[in-house]
């Protein structure tokens, strides 16, 4: 009875690269760049490009088998397999994947977490963004005496 006018207040949000939006079994991510290149993303239909000129924005497929069973957490990660010389170009493998750990033990692959997904009873219930800017990747190979490969996301 009567008239009341309400307005959704402006502000409060921050439109940034890699911004996640959680679905029932998928995660939508806004476009972000690595070294200026558009990454691929693992969807229910396979690995596709996130290039906005190639159709509607694809969503990352989330599978319950890919979560950490102890903590009920999983991560949307950007994985990079650089060229032999450590550089990244359009031929390098740069893909957004769903993983149970934010760090990679594969010496050839660097991994940067983009969003944390919390699960409950086999379903994703909440996601938290973890990356706010486009990324620059460097691979630092070990010295001749031996050591570990460093994958740096700057």
């Amino acid at each position: 009875m009567g008239v009341a006018v309400s307005v959704t207040p402006g502000g409060g949000g921050f439109s940034h690269p890699w911004r996640p939006a959680l679905g029932q079994k998928s995660l939508q991510l806004s476009l972000g760049l690595l070294n200026g290149f558009t990454p691929m993303i693992t969807t229910a239909d396979g690995v596709v490009s996130m290039d906005p000129g190639k159709g509607p924005a694809p969503a990352l497929e989330l599978k319950a088998k890919d979560i950490d069973p102890d903590t009920q957490q999983s991560w949307a990660c950007l994985e990079v397999t650089a060229n032999a010389d450590g550089s990244v170009d359009k031929h390098s493998l740069v893909v957004i994947v769903h993983r149970s750990s934010p760090t990679s033990i594969d010496p050839k692959t660097g991994r940067q977490p983009l969003a944390l997904i919390l699960w409950q009873k086999g379903a994703p219930v909440r996601c938290l963004p973890q990356c706010w800017f486009n990324l620059k990747y460097y691979r630092v190979d070990p010295p001749p005496g031996g050591g570990i490969v460093k994958h740096l996301f700057l």
């Binding site: 008239v3 402006g10 502000g11 486009n134 620059k136 700057l154």
Partner: protein, 423 residues
Amino acid sequence: MIFPPLQKTPKEPLLARPSAGAGTRLAVNAAFYNWSATGGRKWRHPWFTRASWDGKRKQWTATVKPGFVNGNAPFAQTLVSNVPVPQQDFGINPLTGKPFFSDPIFNHGGSMGPGTSVIAMPMFYNPPIDLTFRNIGFDSINEAPPDFFAKRGVQNPPHQPTDDELLAGASLNLDAQPAKGNRLLRACDLVLHQPREALSSDITFGAGPATGISSVQQTLTVILANPNDYLKVFATGKFVPAAGIDPTQGDFTEANFDEIVVSTVYLLSPLDTALYSAPDETWTPYVKHNLFWDLNWMQPAFRILDSDNAIGGLLSAALLLGGGTASIAINFLSASINDAFQNALNVLTAHSLAGTFWTPTGGGSDSAFPQSTPPAQPASGHGLDKDGRLLAQRQQAARLLRAEQLDPAFPYRCQPFDPSLLS
């Protein structure tokens, strides 16, 4: 002259008058209604800290919006109430008149009694963290307030005489009272703690000629992080960076963790509060942030050195393997104990395993945001109207004081990257 009586405007029905809902402001006059939208809520960055007063426990607490390090959420210790486990009813013991198995010796099947427990909880559950404070300002020991709070009435601590002045006959100023209008200030640092491997150094001296030490052996060993340690955020009255290495004590062990301040919570008292008062709900909280974005962290690798310019006269360096850990034995010459310690410290510092926190901004090794231009200041009155000019100046000063912030404007500030990790 006779004026006609004022005509009262008829009251409009209550339901016909619109009301302001969420997010709006309504101004009404005889001619029209004027709606305007209220300001939007400010975006809260990672590590955003909010202080609040727990009236039940008479305790100031803080919650920190989740920030992440390498994708992992830190833990925070928080107080939770014990939830009693329902007990099975075995009836009443006719000999004692009390329920069977009610004696404490039976441990009640492991159920917890009433009370609270401290547990570590991931930050994405927003656990409240109890705060402990240090004094700043007049009732502190030589800690002057930041300029932001000095403008708001926090006075400097009284001058205490130096040693020379005491010798000259001056006395300690123990009964000083502040001028009227003083406010007290308390501060608490919230710190991010990252466990890591660290370097330890052991030095032994070989037999030498009568003129001094001739040979020194330094053994570098990597020590692991404490297995019970974990990535966490904790509150402390004053953050003191871990020293670890103390050459004067012959201690050459790094701290096996990295720490960085997340934010500092300040509490400002009402005017003329009694000195040394504990903060309560009448105090006003302010937060100054040091972290604004999620972080990556990495520490340098322990590399096997075969030569090192940090020490002169290096005779040999040999890799030792014992107990599953790698150590390096370095032999060098030294003419004095001080030189030996300095050389050992140089080696330890040059090969430190201290890690680096940085913000991935996409800017490569340069992660500084561009400087933002400050807003133009409004004119402060002009012309021959002296009173108007003074009033405009006072109003501008009050506006500037209200607008002053402890934190920088968006995009805030980032943690710089250490380019030495690129080598």
